[in-house]
Subunit: 346 residues, 4 copies
């Protein structure tokens, strides 16, 4: 921690800070400049943070230096992690394709979408039973009935399920069906939910809040990790900017930046980023070569009648192009496409 003193700070202001820091068990080193004085603190930063140093007389600003997140930080864990969902791996050696319908609507639509996804190389099935929607008049998902449909489709296809949970009170119920719990963009700072999924014993996909900094995203992951669950996959899905040509602005830089700061895998959602089918393929390619550990894409057997986000869902032909592309680019990046039974085979 570094304290910069204001222009008019007095000797007694400085002494007061030194005393407060010492009484909190720390040490304070004073450096005097021509027009400014800075004080470097050594000791328990979390304890210093409770001292409200910034409010003391003569203080211009206080900068915290040590990392704000510890468990998910790469600082003390330099090797990048893999997360297993069923027998599927998400991590630095593979490119994992997660695909499925934005919303579970019927058993038939879900199974068709899952077959499409599987034919194209997807090894995990995404599908929403609880849909957080901006308007209360929009389709809100089938709820637990949707989860039962997903479980049946898993039986048929063998694809593990990734599905969203929207409230702490639902975590146990959703976890009884799901292989991986998804926390959506609107819930990235729903802290009771983060704590609940941290205790649920299932891997978690944490979407970045549409207005969250990368640091806040990693702090949200830290909430999950703190409850003992380090099986966390970060998902970049676009941030909100002034640009209106796309639904959100995919922050492609967030992939390498998050991977440098954290050991957790990072996947990209090209469907929600752009909100347009014609952007899914270019954004998917970009994501893989930026270093993403996987993709999560919307597919639908008939997007024209989709109850949710039809305009961005891929159809079968698109998916085959995507699959071939991913295979090529995974190779280029020194990775392989993740397979459904890789752990058994391995």
């Amino acid at each position: 921690m570094v304290i910069v003193m204001a222009a008019g700070a007095t000797a007694s202001d400085i002494q007061a800070i030194v005393s407060v820091v010492q009484s909190a068990g720390g040490e304070a080193f004073v450096s005097r400049g021509v027009s400014r004085i800075i004080i470097g603190l050594v000791g328990d930063v979390d304890r210093f943070a409770t001292l409200n140093l910034v409010g003391m007389r003569g203080v211009a600003n206080v900068t915290r230096i040590s990392a704000k997140f510890k468990l998910v930080s790469r600082e003390h864990h330099s090797q990048r992690s893999s997360v297993r969902v069923g027998e599927v791996s998400i991590g630095p050696d593979t490119v994992t394709l997660i695909a499925g319908p934005c919303a579970v609507e019927t058993p038939e639509q879900t199974l068709l979408a899952a077959r499409m996804a599987q034919a194209a190389g997807a090894t995990l099935l995404r599908g929403g039973a609880f849909k957080p929607r901006t308007s209360p008049y929009a389709f809100q998902g089938l709820g637990e009935r949707g989860l039962r449909i997903l479980a049946e489709v898993r039986e048929e296809t063998g694809l593990p399920i990734v599905t969203e949970v929207v409230g702490a009170h639902d975590v146990d119920m959703v976890a009884s069906y799901a292989d991986m719990l998804q926390v959506g963009t609107r819930n990235m700072q729903n802290f009771p939910l983060l704590q609940a999924v941290g205790s649920a014993g299932k891997p978690v996909m944490l979407k970045r809040g549409m207005n969250a900094t990368i640091e806040e995203w990693l702090m949200a992951a830290e909430y999950i990790a703190q409850r003992g669950n380090l099986d966390i996959v970060l998902c970049e899905r676009g941030i909100r900017t002034f640009e209106t040509a796309t639904r959100n602005t995919l922050d492609i830089s967030a992939v390498p930046v998050a991977q440098r700061l954290s050991h957790l895998p990072v996947v990209v959602d090209p469907s929600h980023s752009g909100g347009r089918r014609d952007l899914v393929l270019p954004l998917s390619r970009a994501a893989i070569v930026a270093g993403a550990d996987g993709l999560i894409v919307d597919v639908h057997p008939d997007p024209d009648i989709a109850l949710c986000d039809g305009p961005q869902a891929l159809v079968a032909e698109d998916l085959h192009v995507l699959a071939r592309t991913l295979e090529d680019l995974a190779g280029f990046m020194g990775r392989r496409l993740s397979t459904q039974r890789e752990l058994l085979a391995g």
Copy 2:
């Protein structure tokens, strides 16, 4: 609803849309321009919204015209509403001051802050027992113990309590102590929470999401209203922009804009907007003359040792200046300061 056709749209593309709309019980009016064709739809817009018209061949874009929110809209409810919390009114005739500590820390600190608030004309006591914090290593609030402290302070002072609830599962418990439930900025789109507070039988203060448009904010209010609760007060608390000199950017225009779109009262939080004590007074003045129905401000008997947001908390002297200012500006706006017993007196 208006459909604009793409440049190359064919007669059969148009006929297909007309047929789909008619089969949904609506009517479609086709207007042909030199280079474009537009189709106006009449009928059940919510049903049209399920047709995925934007995905049909030849469609360039689809614009929804009728309001997306109904219950909270001013379109069919032109008179502005008042909301009562205990015996205190928030609405178009008054300026209501809500004040208290950001976080409940101890019975003494809370009572002192409440006395400060009351002496300065506040008629509602704010105070957080559940604190959503970006870092899992920051103080998270006292939980139910904090609510009991608030209830005791209400006994002492007579001030009704406004306090935050952070999860749907906690709503009944928090409602058993609180006079008004606050939904915080990070939870503006926590839909299970919105629905739960909509059913809780207590008035609600809905803070704007730090990245939410005004339309999304009103849609979130519509979620609460849909469960039968129209006692909603909107709270503007700053949005996230590229500017870093302030914690958030107070969107002062949101006050008149939201009041034109909705009949609900709108209050402003000048403390969290700026994140700086020196901005609370100018932003408070600006809020009142922009038409805000009240203010919610952080106060603390000793901000230097506050566990949360000390740098923005007002101290006693500030509060007296604020109180005199509000009285003058309320008069200027043709309002009166709300009083603690106004309903009894009235």
Copy 3:
């Protein structure tokens, strides 16, 4: 300047920095923490800035402490400044109303608008002869012919003229007509233009860039000041955010923040901020009580046929309401409305 060293920095990394700083005539003070080392520099910060310290081995980050702007800073000039335009003052004692048409269209329209402005208490006439427009197909202004119209209207009314200049090559010509040169939002970082108006011998109104931080705005003012011209008035006119209900988001906090950092006067443009006539009055009130030293508003005798920004122009009735409001709120703020002949009278 403070250097924070990375976790693995070695003794020789540190020694290298100390040597580089010393060879640049500075001193470096090393403070060692448990997990980090910081180095405080004393000396010529501008020279340090050329050393690329951040690129040296072992450096995590470098923070500059001393102010980036000097001439416009309040740090060494604690009294707030007034700027005179003709006989009119803009500064801490007054509220100055600047009004006029967005664009000069005809002599009649300009004179009518000026009479409207004057009747309502405006003491400076704004009007654009050079209009920077997003589309090359939109009306671009009358150019020098517009300036001649403005000069004639000044003859008739006695109102000094504020008008925009859009290129360095035009500064002398525009300055030969104008009493105050306006630099628009799109040109806030047009550095040759800033330097040219800095040498033109006329006061300058510097609009904030719609995406500029307050710090960048003050740096742009510093460019003008560096050429010897300190008669600069800052104008907050809204920033670009994700909100679409308003044309821009008025950053009301920028008024007190800029006034704390700089001694220059700050005025607000409520017309371009909101882009809506119905917001001009509430935003004007907010601006004055936030401490603005004046307002600049669009007026038009017949907005329905305005060639530019008609939807935000005030008409005569609005202006009278605005004028009475300003008088009341100026008094509330301990100021008086600026008058056209105040300097003669004073």
Copy 4:
């Protein structure tokens, strides 16, 4: 153009609009819905735009349908264009690498950087002689002396020169040295400059404003095109958002979006987007597979002593990795790396 009428619009309001449109030589088609009336206009949209329809009684909003840009639009020019700079092509068949120092500092540094660039496959040399800098105390470039250095280095290496021009008055002088004129992010809406480069007879690289929408960017290109110059290359260089981990946020989606809307080539600047050397390579890969027609990157023989943007400049080793990568990914995208003498050879 489509006009949506407000809820209470009367028959005479509608008739007034129909009359105004007809008197402007257009036709108006009225469609009546249950709660709304819409009017579709056919005729000269630019003329309609001068009618201020949005200000007429009873109008809720007006939407313009036909494209706002014509000359640079892909609507009437479906084949993507190539732009030639000297003998080098930028367009849909190639990937063109533009590299060089951010700022020209000395003849030696510039020649070394050019040699580095050339060895790595760059076919155009970038280098700034006029540097727009946020602070007036930062290095502002060598001016015309820098241009002479660039011309000498072109003599030595055969690399055509891309260099920035910052004012309309300088265009002829800069064009007398440069092979391609660059308009920087801060000048994207410097309309006199756009018009001047439109008349200068040299190809132009137009950087996106850091806060500009894609539509505004294309409108800025239209300003250049309107003066008769269609040799325009668009350059995405990152936009300003709330994220602070990167200098700007590279809007990777802007590449395919701009290419769908316009026939002009689009290149990406990965150096200024991220502002960090470690992001240049991943962002470069992402740009190519998103469909970019080229890259423009900062290189420096010794970034530690660079006078401008050293932290983002590539050094020799980086450049070789980049070159190999581009070759592979160009092939993957069905393109070839552009060569220095391709037009002679072809």
